[in-house]
């Protein structure tokens, strides 16, 4: 909401500079988002009078004007405006001024004649679209004064952020009350002195409230014989200064009082009301109304309407009806001032998708106590500015009158909650300055009565906040909590996550974070079959776009998209991982965490010492082995799978205790195609919880070998189908404790070995924990290994 400095000063005196006021309001909880000088754009524009006009010697369409701007010397200004004439007063942009349209005025020669400024149109000053001629100022405008002052624009606008609990501050008087709490100065409420005529209002109209739960109070006045027209300049300026559009005097007055009191008002054309009376009721089935914005709206039976004897004439507290609005022909006005149930207004406004200044205030809670004051203030302004005669009396139906909130207030509790040592008397003073009634209750405590404009305050804690903010958060001490520090439960998943992340970063993988949303089409791209369980997604009711319309059930599409994005931007060293949740419908665990990675394009950094190369299956497998190692997972097996996203011959599931904990491998060529990747991509995808379950962190010291080890190489030729870990396992099994390690250092298929065979070369390290192995012992063992390899796998020694 916007307020201006000069306007505020109508309701309270204060000596604060604009920046001081902004600071104080902010520290009271009314955040000032911006402070703008209204006339700032019109700097250097002054009021001038054209004293003489001569033709321009070199141009038909231009004239030479002598302009008096209140200085000793008159200015010569070249002008081409059609309406320029001697004696007129118009805005003069003096040398050095910059017009809102961006033009800076310089001393210039126009067709050979000196021009010492510029006479301006409204358009050139950014005041309107009128470019037809010079802006005419009234002949009594003082010469040489700044235009902004002459137009009443020399004001400061504060843009305020009003939190939802403070509807009372959605008004000038409300903000003035806060300044009262800050300064202790008195409020100056607008004086109201109504001159009513002899006609009793009761004879002109009536108000019936059929839904007192939704409309606790409804008041009305009738003003007859008004003349609808333009508002006076001061009123237009006030509204425009805070960004409210100008319509006609009656509507402008209701808006003006809305800004003053925060009380929305509505003016009806009295004669458009059937039987000239008001019925406040719920809408009935199939009813509708055309609102002021000329939209026909269907009404539901839970919506509150203002009706006349026959039909709805307004959406209560939200928007008036088109048929009963004030027009140029309106003579008699019924003016409404009411208090509506906030929830009801909120629900209706939301259902219909309308938000107005009125609904914004009613749904936050207007002040039922301001209903009459605002009504009378507007009535008086209408009588003053639009003429008309005020019917005697007011209709005020108030079925929902509530006793004021009484709150027991314990100063000791305030100091306990805040950690302060504020005197009780100081607290009482703060509450009084906020407009509350404070009574000592005979003990050290107080009984506080909350005025109607602070319906947000119902509990002692609410008052404590009031004390805190007026006392000043800055004045509250800074201390550290004294209590015991709770002992956190051990969290193995934090440890696993940390280890995996450190490993992957150290291995050159970059961490990605993707949105939790994804495109439902992504499952096609990663080749999930129609019945794949991960297609069962949680859908958003209100997605930002179809591409972000479901919650992800796998991280693979996100990372493939990241690879695609990078590839499209010519980045081909793709190594990314993400640790994040997926969202499983109807699962026992609904948001399992995954750790998923992608390797594609090239590895290495392409320099002379570290050339690029394409990654392969064993790069991704290495990463997987590293993940398992940092988790202490030693006992696992690999198994090829038919997972649709992967190359059928180049993928493996990782199983621990016969349970799949993850999968890795080369992406299926169709997947690559779907993501426009011109090269192979390798993926791993693990379930974090399964990793945590399988992880082993206990470590025991193992003696460091003291006896020398003996290394023997062994090259064997086996059938191509033999997997490399079969000989490895057999070597360990044969050698027992004496085999320290088996390292496969070469795999060969080709001319040197027979068709259908391959050669595997192992380096076997023999070692005994208890003695130095003799050559003889090692030879015997090694020969046994060779024999077993031959018996079990048909392995031949390769010479």
């Amino acid at each position: 909401m916007n307020v201006t400095l000069n306007w505020l000063k109508n309701y309270i005196d204060f000596e604060l500079s604009p920046s001081e006021l902004a600071d104080r309001l902010t520290m009271l909880g009314i955040e000032v988002e911006s402070v703008k000088e209204l006339g700032a754009e019109l700097k250097g524009i002054v009021v001038g009078s054209v004293t003489a006009i001569q033709p321009h010697p070199n141009a038909d369409k231009l004239v030479l004007c002598q302009v008096d701007v209140g200085e000793t010397e008159e200015l010569q200004i070249v002008c081409g405006a059609p309406n320029v004439r001697e004696g007129m007063r118009a805005p003069v942009a003096t040398i050095g001024a910059t017009l809102p349209i961006g033009l800076t005025i310089k001393r210039a020669k126009l067709r050979g004649e000196t021009s010492q400024g510029m006479l301006c149109s409204e358009k050139e000053l950014g005041l309107s679209e009128d470019a037809a001629g010079l802006m005419e100022l009234s002949p009594d405008t003082p010469l040489g004064t700044s235009l902004s002052e002459a137009l009443g624009l020399d004001d400061i606008v504060f843009e305020l952020e009003i939190t939802p609990n403070r509807p009372d501050c959605l008004s000038l008087i409300g903000v003035a009350r806060e300044i009262r709490a800050e300064t202790g100065n008195a409020l100056k409420l607008p004086p109201v002195d109504l001159k009513e005529d002899e006609t009793d209002i009761q004879k002109t109209t009536s108000v019936t409230i059929e839904a007192p739960d939704l409309c606790p109070r409804y008041a009305a006045r009738v003003i007859r014989g008004v003349k609808v027209g333009q508002s006076p300049a001061w009123l237009q300026q006030r509204l425009e200064s805070v960004g409210v559009g100008v319509i006609n005097n009656i509507v402008d007055i209701t808006n003006f009082v809305l800004m003053e009191y925060g009380q929305p008002l509505h003016a009806f054309d009295y004669h458009k009301l059937a039987e000239n009376r008001i019925v406040v009721r719920r809408a009935v089935e199939n009813e509708n109304i055309t609102t002021l914005d000329e939209v026909e709206r269907d009404l539901a039976p839970d919506m509150l309407v203002i009706a006349d004897a026959e039909k709805p004439v307004a959406l209560a507290g939200i928007m008036g009806g088109y048929d009963s609005e004030i027009t140029e022909t309106t003579a008699d006005v019924l003016l409404e001032s009411a208090y509506f149930n906030p929830s009801s207004i909120r629900a209706t406004a939301k259902t219909l998708g309308i938000s107005t200044e009125a609904s914004y205030r009613f749904e936050r809670g207007a002040d039922p106590g301001a209903v009459l004051a605002a009504l009378d203030r507007a009535t008086q302004l209408i009588a003053e500015l639009a003429g008309g005669s005020i019917c005697k009396g007011v209709v005020d139906v108030y079925p929902g009158e509530q006793p004021l909130h009484q709150i027991q207030f314990r100063p000791e509790r305030v100091n306990f909650i805040l950690g302060t040592a504020i005197e009780a008397t100081e607290m009482a003073e703060i509450l009084s300055d906020l407009g509350f009634e404070v009574k000592a209750d005979g003990t050290e405590n107080y009984q506080v009565t909350v005025p109607t404009f602070r319906s947000d305050l119902t509990r002692e804690i609410d008052l404590i906040e009031e004390i805190a903010r007026v006392y000043g958060y800055d004045n509250i001490p800074t201390t550290l909590p004294k209590g015991d520090i709770p002992v956190p439960a051990p969290n193995p998943s934090t440890e696993v996550r940390k280890r995996i992340k450190h490993f992957l970063l150290a291995a050159g993988m970059m961490e990605a974070i993707n949105y939790s949303f994804c495109d439902p089409n992504c499952f096609d791209k990663i080749r999930f079959a129609a019945e794949h369980p991960l297609r069962d997604v949680l859908k958003l009711q209100n997605p930002l776009s179809p591409e972000m319309s479901v919650l992800r059930t796998t991280l693979l599409p996100n990372l493939l998209e990241n690879a695609q994005h990078n590839r499209n931007h010519q980045i081909d060293t793709i190594a990314l991982f993400e640790i994040g949740s997926v969202f499983i419908r109807n699962g026992a665990e609904k948001e399992p965490e995954r750790v998923t990675g992608i390797l594609a394009g090239q590895v290495g950094d392409g320099v002379y010492s570290n050339p690029y190369r394409e990654p392969d299956f064993y790069d991704i497998k290495g990463l997987v082995e590293g993940i398992l190692e940092v988790c202490g997972i030693v006992d696992y097996t690999l198994e090829k799978t038919d997972a649709p996203t992967f190359h059928p011959g180049r993928n493996a599931a990782v199983l621990s205790s016969n349970k799949q904990i993850g999968i890795f491998g080369e992406a299926h060529p169709e997947v690559l195609e779907n993501y426009d990747l011109p090269y192979k991509a390798y993926l791993f995808d693990f379930d974090m919880e399964a990793l945590v379950d399988a992880a082993i962190f206990t470590k025991r010291f193992e003696p460091i070998p003291v006896y020398p080890k003996v290394e023997r190489d062994l090259a064997i030729v086996v059938d191509k189908e033999v997997l490399s870990d079969m000989p490895t396992g057999l070597i360990y099994a044969t050698g027992g404790e004496l085999v320290e390690s088996v390292r496969l250092f070469d795999v060969y298929e080709g001319e040197q070995v027979p068709e259908g065979k391959k050669s595997l070369a192992y380096a076997i390290t023999y070692h005994s924990a208890t003695e130095t192995l003799t050559d003889k012992a090692v030879n015997a063992l090694h020969n046994k290994v060779v024999k077993h390899l031959n018996q079990e796998l048909g392995a031949e020694l390769r010479m």
Partner: protein, 338 residues
């Protein structure tokens, strides 16, 4: 014989001077010390000397042998040194050729910031707990004193799921879950993702928060100021000014926002702080009694405070990323920068 010994010494020392290779040195050594070497021959001839001459000549012979041995050792040493010098000179590398740098990855900038925040609060005794992203209206709003018709719901533009759940709009629901599951004292932080319907240069529909909650029997608003001041000092440095401003959150009272002095203009006021000299970094407040009632804590027995830190906002004070959406594109040129 004496003259012979002296001649051998002079001759050998002279020859050593011109030796340039280990092979020449070795052949020279053989010339004098070999089985048929010149010195060896002389030594062999010692037996033929008279008893009287023997001590004098023997002494001289020992001196010559010792001198020459030392000279040969010195020559060997010098030659070795010279050779090593030559080798080292030959092995000189082009130090401007690129290094073979091990690949290394970087944590996402948001995670870097998140981890720093976590570390500071862990040190102050806060335990890290998490909660689900998919939440119910109850945990996200109702239990946090934000009933369905509360205007504060407008502050959160919520993503709803078709099954009636929603994506949490803040991490505060975990406050409720934590208090439901444990008795006071509670001292937790909740890092994680939350969601609001918002997508422009300064907003992404998914973002990160660190929620904090401290509940005990004697927690005061001044403690809130203390903990958050300590956090800000550690996060932003000792020079940072800070202020607490009254604000409104349905689930805290009194509520506050915390500002720190703008690092760009040092508090003078500039474009990045909207001219105020201050930058908002978090929301906080004393836990509202209604929240305690929702979790069956007795508001007369316990007090507490809660806070919520926007990780993207904190990250961007440092990184100054002009378009927040860049954060989640995972462009490697972007990720490499942090």
């Amino acid at each position: 014989m004496k003259a012979e010994l002296q001649a051998i010494q002079a001759e050998a020392l002279a020859a050593l001077k011109s030796v340039e290779t280990p092979a020449a040195l070795e052949s020279l050594r053989i010339t004098y010390f070999g089985r048929r070497g010149k010195l060896t021959d002389v030594m062999k001839g010692m037996g033929n000397l008279s008893k009287e001459a023997r001590p004098e000549i023997g002494k001289l012979a020992n001196e010559v042998r010792s001198t020459l041995t030392q000279a040969f050792e010195a020559a060997t040493e010098a030659l070795h040194h010279q050779q090593q010098e030559q080798q080292l000179a030959a092995e000189s590398v082009d130090i401007t050729l690129p290094g073979r740098k091990p690949a290394y990855g970087k944590a996402h900038p948001i995670m870097q910031t998140l981890e720093r925040i976590e570390a500071i609060f862990r040190q102050m005794g806060f335990e890290v707990v998490t909660g689900p992203d998919v939440e119910t209206e109850y945990y996200n709003f109702d239990a946090l004193n934000t009933p369905a018709d509360h205007p504060a719901r407008d502050l959160h533009d919520t993503f709803y799921l078709t099954d009636g759940h929603l994506l949490r709009t803040h991490n505060s629901p975990v406050q409720i879950r934590a208090m439901e599951n444990q008795k006071p004292p509670v001292r937790i932080i909740v890092p994680g993702k939350c969601y609001r319907v918002d997508y422009d240069v300064s907003h992404t529909p998914m973002f990160h928060q660190v929620e904090g909650l401290l509940v005990d029997t004697r927690v005061t608003f001044s403690d809130l100021k203390g903990v958050l001041t300590s956090f800000a000092r550690q996060m932003f440095g000792d020079q940072t000014q800070m202020r607490f401003r009254p604000h409104f959150f349905p689930f805290t009272e009194p509520s506050a926002e915390m500002d720190i002095s703008c690092a760009v203009c040092e508090g003078k006021g500039c474009r990045s702080c909207g001219g105020t000299g201050w930058v908002e970094i978090l929301g906080a407040g004393a836990v509202d009694p209604a929240v305690f009632e929702a979790v069956n804590y007795d508001p007369d027995e316990v007090t507490g405070f809660a806070f919520g830190i926007g990780v993207e906002r904190i990250a961007n004070l440092q990184f100054r990323i002009p378009d927040m959406r860049t954060l989640y594109e995972n462009d490697l040129r972007f990720l490499r920068q942090f």
